[in-house]
Structures are given as C-alpha cells and as structure tokens.
Point group: C4
C-alpha cells in the first residue's frame, strides 16, 4: 500500500461527498409565482447542507492530520481507513433525511450516530498508529493519545446528549452538533496557525504537539 495513492483516493472520496451534498437541494419546480415561498421551504435543507459541508470538511482536516503522522501503510490500516470513509460517504443520506424531517427524532439520531461512528473510527485509527510505531513518521507517544482522549469523550458525549434530547428539544440538538463543529474548527484553526514546514520543524517536539492536536 502506497501512502500517496491512499491519500489521493481519500481526498477524492471527501471531495465527492462534500460536492454531492448539493444534489439534495432540488429545484422546487413550482409555478413561477410560487417560487418565493417554495424556496423558503427549502431553508431546512440549506441549513443541514451547510452543517454537513463543514462536518465533512472537518473530517477531511482530521484525516489530513492523521495521515501527516503516517509513513507506511499496511492492509489493516487501509481497511480501517475504508471504514472511516464508509461513515463519511454515508453522510449525504442522513443530511437528506434531516433536511426533509428537520424536527423529528429519528433523523437527528441517525445523523448523530453517523458522527459518533466516524469519530470513533478516527480514534481507533490513532490508537492503531500508537500500537504500530513502525507505520508512523515518528512514534506517536501514548501521552499524545491521552491528550486526545478528552476531545473525543467531550464531542461524543455532546453528540449522545444531542440524540437523547432530540425528541423534546430538536433545536438544542442542532445547536449541540453545530457547537461541537465550531469548537473543533476553531481548535484546528488555532493549533495549526504557527504551522511550520515539516522540513524545518524540530522533529521530536513538532511530532508530539502535532499528535496532541
């Protein structure tokens, strides 16, 4: 398995998923005079579209982070990566459901479950990398993994809470999904701000902080 092709394939899948999302916002196809109200009725779909667009973008960013630490790829890593891609490429379906039934329990729950599964797969891949230091650019220290754990626990905890509350307060569920997304986006944006080129960065220190990201 060759890292470059795995990345090309993965980038392709992410690029397609993020672009296919728009296909769900369908032309209303009503009489011209009814176009305004028909477009207003599309609003929930626009909201879930934007949410999913940034969710997929965020997972792409996360994938990039993991791939940055990888030097070699074996068969198991490829299958784990494929499972990750499975949960990402499923996204257009829960997004479509949510756009059509924005305030129902089931779609909000399915959406949250997909987020959790994607998250957990990402974490499993990082654990796999810690246990297989021969695949990493530099061994990922268990401390880096421990530093990551609270992020996973908090985000998945909020997703679970959002699902639990979806039947009663669906808007709060949305706010929780969007809140986690915004938190992770700001986190990524800030941490990598002073991002130094790999060639110039001091190896040992650079790796550990990057792993902790």
């Amino acid at each position: 398995m060759n890292k470059q092709r795995l990345e090309a394939f993965t980038d392709g899948v992410y690029a397609i998923v993020i672009t296919l999302l728009i296909l769900d916002i369908r032309n209303p196809d009503v009489a011209a005079t009814a176009l305004g109200p028909a477009l207003v009725r599309l609003l929930p779909q626009v909201v879930t579209y934007v949410l999913s667009f940034f969710v997929v973008g965020m997972y792409w960013f996360a994938h990039h982070r993991v791939a940055h630490q990888v030097k070699l790829i074996n068969g198991t890593f490829t299958w784990l990566n494929l499972v990750w891609l499975l949960f990402v490429s499923v996204m257009p379906f829960p997004t479509s459901l949510l756009g059509r039934y924005p305030l129902q329990f089931i779609p909000i729950a399915i959406y949250g479950i997909d987020l959790i599964l994607t998250n957990v797969t990402g974490y499993v891949i990082t654990v796999y990398l810690v246990k297989h230091p021969e695949l990493a650019v530099a061994p990922v220290p268990p401390a880096a993994l421990r530093a990551l754990l609270p992020v996973y626990i908090i985000s998945n905890g909020i997703y679970v809470a959002a699902i639990a509350i979806a039947g009663i307060l669906p808007w709060v569920s949305y706010a929780m999904y969007a809140g986690v997304l915004a938190w992770l986006m700001v986190r990524y944006a800030r941490r990598s701000n002073p991002f130094k080129p790999a060639a110039q960065a001091p190896r040992s220190a650079g790796r550990a902080s990057r792993a902790a990201d």
Copy 2:
C-alpha cells in the same frame, strides 16, 4: 496542512462541480415525435449550463492563481478555502433554478449573490495572504492588492447592477454576468500568455505582476 493535498482536494471539488452541472439537463422523456420541441424547451438550461461551466472554470483558474503564491497553509487558510469551495459547490443549485425560471428575478438574484460571495471570499483570502507573509512564496506587496481591488469592485458592482435590473430586464442581467465572465477570461488568458516557468522567472518582479493579476 499540506499544500499538495489542499490542492488535490480543491481540484477534486472543482472537477466534480463542473461535471455535475450536466446532470441538471434531463432527458425530456416525451414521445419520439415531440422530441424536437422538447429539446428546444431545454435551451435555457443549456445556456445556463454553459455559463456556469465557464464560471466554475474561471474560479478554478482564480484559485490556481492564489495557490501559486502560497507556500505554507495553516488552519485558518484551510477554513477560508473551504468557505470558498462552499460557494463554488453550491453552483449547481442556482444554475438549476436559472435553467427552470430563466426570466424571474429571484433565480437571477440568487445566482448573482453566489457570484458575489465567491468573489468576496477570494478577495478575503488574498488579503489574508498579504497579512500573513509567512505563508506566501514571496510576500505579496500591498500594492499588488490595491491593483486587484478595482477588478473586484467593477465585477461585483456589475453583479449588483445585474441583480437590481433582473426584475425588469432579465436579458440585460445575463449579458452582464456573461460580460464579466468574458472580461475576466480574456484578462486571465492575456496576462498569463507569456507565462514563464517559476524556476526561471525573476522572483521579485514575477511575483508582483502575478499578484496583480
């Protein structure tokens, strides 16, 4: 964040958006004898298809120009790039609307708003690059940015005027959109004609003129 993967992802999104546009021109599915008139009725969709094809192509070109000046990528740049891609990947929807309601105010306005948002995001990214010279191959001089400003003001000004006039003279709005597109295409085609390979071009002079493009 690694420049090569950001470009691969971005190229993927552009390639998909530009190709998905054709899915909106649907097989009329009428009796064979009625095929001719049914295809003539598809004409507005063909026109908006071609328009959007070159609009997306032009933004891809513009993205390429910006990326050419970038050496390093940080989290904020990645999110700004994602916002840019959001407005580009939305394109199939306003295109579909315009094809179905070619002479209505709302679709022409939505189309123009998407063009303006994409434009402005592109400009914000350039400003960000000027303020973060550590990300650029060579610092983008503020003069280059000032040289770009009239292009943005004129093109967005024409888009605003096209929206304002859409309710009364929709065909003039089309002509304005197409006119800006043609102007920018000719501009890109001419400026880069004597495009020298990066390795041979004199650094300081080459950068400034490229930035001003």
Copy 3:
C-alpha cells in the same frame, strides 16, 4: 502513457463509484409518522450498499497491488485497465437492483456476473504483465501467477455457485458473496501487514511474494 496519470484517473473512478453508491439510498419522503417503518424497508438497500462499498474498496486494493508491479504502461494495458474500470463503474446499477429486489434470482445473478467479469479482467491484466516483463518493475515469475490461480478459481467458483443457488436460497448467495469478500479482505490485510517500504525491501524476494499475493 504515464503511470501516474493512469493511477490518478483510476483512483478518481474508484473514489467516485464508491461514493455514488449512497445516492441509491433515497430519502423515503413519507409522512413523519411513517418514517420509522419506511426506514426499516430501506434495510436491504443498506445491506447491499455496505456490501458494494467493500467490494469496490477491495478491487481498488487489488488494482493498487497490480499497479505496484508496473513500471511502464502501453496502449493495450490502458485499454485492459479501462475494461476493468468499466466493470467496476457499472457496480452502482447491480447494487441498486439488488437493493430493490433483494431476493430475486436475476439481480443476484447480475451482481455475481459483474463480480466474475471484474475478477477475470484483473487476472487477464496480471497474465498480460507476466507476458510483458518489459512493463513490470521486476519480471513477474510465472510461479507467482500459478500461485494466484487458485484464489481466482475459488472466488469465481463460489460466485458461480452463488448464482446457481440464488433462485432457491438467496440468503446463501449473499453469504457466499460476503464470505469471499471477507476472505479476500483478511488475505490482503494479513499479507501486507509486514509491508516494508519499497526502497528497503530486498528486490527479488519482495517482488515474488508480493506478486503471489
């Protein structure tokens, strides 16, 4: 023909096929109260979606394996590769059929025939490579090909048996398709586990074992 572009094109096709599969799981679009049962009725489509997702992933892995042994690409290799891609990109159709008619003979048979055709094309490409050592990184020994043959015979034999039995015991056919998939996935995962970087691996030994994979 340039190996890198052939791989980029092939990775693109695989990435798109694997992502398009989700488009077949359509939003049920029923009244909110009927959503639960409507989603349960989508279960066969979810099952075939997951099956096809990993089937396409497995062929991508197989393609990667073959490409790894290739140094040069000629016109005939490109057409053979295109025929392989044809059978892969057809996948969304048999998947959709299977999801809609999960227990009928015809869809199970069409699915199996597509698997066999893809398999055989992959084998033909390997044979072509053995007969054209000038295209290979290192000549693929006929022994490696003979070592591969049982894998092809067993998997295609099971596919044929699955088709034969589909009219009577469709669930057994599914189990057979999934069984072959699981077997090949485990096979790939295990064999490549101690995957050494190409530069460090001893050339002659590494090639032969890889070819036998």
Copy 4:
C-alpha cells in the same frame, strides 16, 4: 498555470464523466415478476453506456497524448482545454438521449455533433501547440500535424456521414460511431505498444512519431 494541476483537474473531470454515465441506467422499479422484460428494455441504454464509456476513455487517452508534449501552460491553453472538457462533460446528456430514443434522428445527430466538436477542439489544441513551440517539450513539427490531419478528416467525415444516414439507417450510424472508436482504440494500442520511458527515448525521433500518433 501549472501543468500538474491542469492534469489533475482534467483527469478528475474525465473520471467523473465516465463514472456518471452509469447513473442513467436506472433501476426499472417494476413488480418482481416483470423484472426480466424490464431489464431487456434497458438494453439500448446498456449499449449506449458502453459506447460512451469507451468514447470518453478514448478522449482521455487523446488528452494524455497531447499533455505529454506540453511543458508550459498559458491562459489560452487553459481555456482551450476547458472547451475540450466542456464537450466531454456534456457526454452524459447525448448518451441519455440516445439510450431513450435509440433509433431517432435527433439523438444520433446530437451525439455525432458532440463527437465532432470534441474532435475539432482536440485538433485546434494541437495546432495551437505547433504555433507556440515555447509551450512544447520539443517543438511539434508541422509535418507531425500534417500526418494527423487525415485521421481527423476521416473520423469526422465518418461522423458526418453517420449523422446524414441516421434518419434512414440508424443502425449503420451506430456501426460507424463504433467503427471509428474501434479504429482509434486499435491505433492507440498499437502505436504505443513499444512505448519507451521518456528519459530513455531518443528525443527528436520519439517526439515526431509520438506527435504523429
């Protein structure tokens, strides 16, 4: 303009177009007992799918050939390339029309016109390259262009004849389209068979024969 990104974008568009073609072969969605005849009725769509799959594959091959001779890319070349991609990415529409109305004059004519437009654009790009030797890896000799001309004249001539005859003998038109395709495929496969790596091939001789391809 950077050659690598133009190729990545172009490969992306080709990969998507060739994969989207399958979306037009829709699940018949009839009662299970009527599935057999319903699938037989899809036969014209299967035929046009396979035809278009190899047509797009052939143009991808042709693009590859042209790109192989290019060293630098300017704005005009980018727009010419985009026009080429326009005619290629339109393909799913004439394919869909042809599958639905296989024996009507209009769809056969539209299909042929798209083939001619793609062909002519490819030729214009080659002419542009001859006139701009500063863009080519090695100047393309006008003799190479003259050697190409008969291929363009014959293939486009057959396309025109196929359109002219479509109203009376539609099956002959199909045979003519398929015949040109097979001829070009064999031509590419044979010429490039003894394809030597660029680094080892004698420059001047290699270029001329490649250009004549």
